[in-house]
Symmetry: C2
Subunit: 411 residues, 2 copies
C-alpha cells in the first residue's frame, strides 16, 4: 500500500480545484440585496455523481437532476444554485422552470443544455420568480471567475438561515498522482439524514469514471452528511453533487480496489465530514456542538440508531442548552431507540466523566459535569456493552433562538 | 344491539367510582410544600390491568408492578404514586424501595403486600428519599377518603411540570347495567406513544375478568394515549393502570363479544381520550392544541405513521407557534414519514382551507390561514388518496416556554 497524504488548503473554496469557475450574484430572490444565485462551471466536461433526498415530495430540481444524470454522467459542465425559493411542491411549472434555468446557463456558456444541473433551497410551495432567476443566470455567467473570491461568493449565495458559508478544500497526494477536492454546503435547519441532508457541491479534478465516482460519493455521504441532525426534519431538496473534471495528472480511477480510489474516498469523506460538522456548528440557534459516539453495539446500524435517538431527543438538546447535566435523558433516549439493550451492561460518559454504569449512577460529579457542559463542544459516549461496532453522529443543542428562527422563517 | 349511554360526571375524580378512596399529601419530595404523594385504595379487591412503557430502561416501579401483576390480577387494592423522583436507573436499591413503599401502604391498610402497586414520576437516576416517602404513605393512608376533593388532591399530587390536574369521570349506562369509569393522568413533557406515555390511573366499578380488562385497556390505550406526542420522548416510567372493583350492579364481563364489554371499551376509550387530549393541551409550553388527521391511507398504521411524522416535526410545531401558515413543512413531514405516497394524489387542509392539491398549492389564502392559526385549536387534515384508512393524533406547538422548562428542569 502506498501512503496517502491529505492537506487542508487554507481559505479554500470550490474554485481551489483547477479548471472550475464560479460566481455568486444577487438577483432579488432574497430581500436586501443579499447574494442568492450561485454558478459553478467547468469548461472541461465533468463526470457527475449525486445523492438526493429520500423525501417522497422531491423538489423540481431534484427530479430534474436525477433524470439528467440518468442520461448523462460524463459530459457535465456545471450547476446553477439559487436560495430564497426551493421550487418544491410546484408541480409541472416547477419542472419547466428548472429546465429553463439550466438551459439559460448552458446557452450563455455555449454548451448543450444536458450539461447543466440546478439546485434550489428556500421556501417550499412558491414558484421560482423566473425573471429574476434568468437575469441572475446571465449576470453570474458574465461574472464567473477562477478566483477564490468567486468561490466564496458562490458559497454565500446558497445560504438561507446559515450565519456563515461552509467551504473546504483539500489537496490529496498519493504515489499515483495528486488531486484537489473542494466543497461548499448550506444548511442550518431542516437537517436530518437519509440523504444528502442539505445542498452540497463538490468540485474535484480527480480522474474518475462514473461508477466509482457514484460509489465513493454514496459511501462518503453515509459516513458524514448522513451522520448529522439539527432538528430531525428531512428536506424536499437535499442534494450532494460531485463534479470531477479529470484535469489532475494521474491515471484514471476505474477500480474500487485501486490505491487512487481509496485516496479519493478518504479525501471525499474528509471534505464532507468537515462540511457536515460545519453545518451542525451553524445549526439554527446552536450554542453547543455535540458529538455522540455509541460503541459496543452489535452492528454499525444499531450504533447509529442509538446515537441518533439521543441526538434527536428534544429533552437532551434542551438540557445541553441549559448546561443541565441531565444524563437520565440520555439513558432514556437510548432506551426508546428501538435497539435492544440490557440496562445492566450500558455505560455513559460525558467527556471523561463516567455518569452511568450497569444500571446505576456512577461518578455523578455535578460541578464537573456543569464545567464540561459549559464548553462549546460536548462529547457524549455510550457503550452498549454488546458488541464491537461503533458510530458517531453530530448534533447541536436546542435553544430559544431555534424557536425564534422557525416560528417566523418560511421554509 | 342494545344502546349504550355515556355521560360525563361534572367535577369528577377517581373517587367518583363507588368504593374507591384517595388522598394526596405533601411529603417533601417537591420543594415548597406542594402535594407529591397520592394514594388510591379500594377495600374491595380489584381486578387489575396495566400497560407499561416500551423504553428498554424501565423504572423500578414499572418492573415491580409488572412482576406483581404477573402473579396477581384479581386481588389488588390500590397504588401509591409519587412525583418528584422517578425511581428510574436506580438499580437494585430502586426495586427494594418500590417494594418497601407498596409494603408500607399494604401494612397500614391491613392487606397483603401483593395487593399494592407503585408508580413514580420525576427526576431520573436519583434514589427515592424513603424517609419522606414512608412518612407520606402513613399520612396518605390516614387522610384517605371517598370525597371528590380527596380524588382531586391525588390528581394534583402526581403532577410534575403539569400546570393543572387531568381528571375525568364517566357514567356508562347499558341495558345490562350501569357502571362508572374515572381516571386521572399526569404528563406534560417526555410525551410520545409506544405505551401508556405518562402516568394514568383508571378506577372503575365495572365487573370484569382480568383477560377482558387487559384487552380493553390495551385497545383503549392504543386509540388514545398512544395517539399523542408532545416532544417525541418516550419515558422510562409510563404506566396506565386500571383497577376494577366490581361493585357495579351488572353481570360480570367474561366475553369480548358481550354488549357490556363494548360499553366498557367505549367508556374506557372515551376516558383515556379525554385524558390524552388534556395532556396535550397542557403540553410543556403549549399555546395551541393541534389535531392532525390523515385519511385515504392504505392501513390505519400508515395513517398514524404519516400523522405522527407531522406531529413530531419541530418545523411544523414552531410554525404553528409563530402562526405561520407554512404548509410546505406539513407536506415535507408527510414526505419523510416513511409511508410511500404519490405527491400527485395528496391533499392538505388547514381547517376548511384546502392548501395543497395534487402536487401544487391550491387555495393559498394567507390571511384566512393566519386567522385559523390564531385560534387555540388547529385542525390539520391530510388525505393521502390511496385507501380508506384514517387516523388522528394530537399534539401541541413548540414554544420558547418549552425550551425554558426543559433547559432547567431535571427529569
Amino acid at each position: 500500500m502506498s501512503t496517502v497524504q491529505i492537506q487542508v488548503i487554507p481559505d479554500g473554496s470550490i474554485t481551489s480545484t483547477p479548471g472550475f469557475e464560479a460566481a455568486g450574484v444577487a438577483c432579488g430572490l432574497k430581500a436586501g440585496g443579499a447574494l442568492d444565485l450561485a454558478l459553478a462551471y467547468s469548461p472541461q466536461p465533468c463526470v457527475g455523481a449525486a445523492v438526493f433526498t429520500t423525501n417522497a415530495f422531491r423538489a423540481a430540481p431534484v427530479l430534474y437532476d436525477e433524470k439528467l444524470l440518468g442520461r448523462n454522467r460524463l459530459n457535465l459542465h456545471g450547476v446553477v444554485i439559487n436560495s430564497g425559493c426551493a421550487n418544491a411542491c410546484t408541480g409541472a411549472q416547477g419542472l419547466r422552470d428548472a429546465a429553463a434555468t439550466a438551459a439559460a446557463a448552458a446557452s450563455h456558456l455555449g454548451i448543450d443544455p444536458s450539461g447543466f444541473m440546478v439546485m434550489s433551497t428556500g421556501v417550499i410551495g412558491m414558484p421560482l420568480p423566473m425573471d429574476k432567476v434568468l437575469a441572475g443566470v446571465v449576470e453570474a455567467a458574465a461574472q464567473r471567475s477562477h478566483s477564490l473570491d468567486a468561490g466564496h461568493s458562490a458559497a454565500r449565495a446558497i445560504m438561507t438561515t446559515d450565519t456563515r458559508p461552509k467551504e473546504v478544500a483539500l489537496r490529496v497526494t498519493t504515489s499515483d498522482g495528486e488531486f484537489t477536492i473542494a466543497g461548499m454546503a448550506k444548511g442550518a435547519g431542516m437537517i436530518h439524514p437519509n440523504m444528502a441532508t442539505m445542498l452540497c457541491l463538490v468540485t474535484t479534478d480527480v480522474r474518475v469514471e462514473p461508477a466509482p465516482a457514484q460509489k465513493a460519493l454514496r459511501h462518503a455521504v453515509d459516513g458524514s452528511l448522513n451522520m448529522v441532525t439539527v432538528d430531525g426534519d428531512t428536506s424536499t431538496n437535499d442534494t450532494a453533487l460531485l463534479l470531477a473534471n479529470g484535469l489532475a495528472s494521474m491515471r484514471p480511477i476505474h477500480s474500487l480496489r485501486s490505491t487512487a480510489y481509496h485516496a479519493f474516498l478518504a479525501g471525499l469523506t474528509q471534505t464532507l465530514t468537515m462540511l457536515a460538522k460545519a453545518i451542525v456548528r451553524d445549526g439554527e440557534g446552536a450554542t453547543r456542538f455535540v458529538e455522540i459516539t455509541v460503541s459496543g453495539a452489535r452492528t454499525p446500524i444499531e450504533a447509529k440508531q442509538a446515537a441518533m435517538s439521543v441526538a434527536r431527543s428534544l429533552l437532551v438538546k434542551t438540557a445541553i442548552y441549559g448546561q443541565n447535566a441531565n444524563w437520565g435523558r440520555i439513558i432514556c433516549a437510548v432506551g426508546y431507540s428501538g435497539v435492544p439493550v440490557d440496562p445492566g451492561s450500558v455505560r455513559v460518559w460525558l467527556g471523561d466523566l463516567e455518569l452511568f454504569r450497569r444500571g446505576e449512577p456512577y461518578e455523578v460529579d455535578e460541578a464537573r459535569a456543569r464545567e464540561l457542559l459549559a464548553r462549546p463542544e460536548v462529547p457524549i459516549h455510550i457503550d452498549l456493552g454488546q458488541g464491537d461496532s461503533r458510530g458517531t453522529v453530530w448534533t447541536c443543542d436546542l435553544s430559544h433562538r431555534y424557536v425564534d428562527i422557525n416560528a417566523h422563517y418560511r421554509t
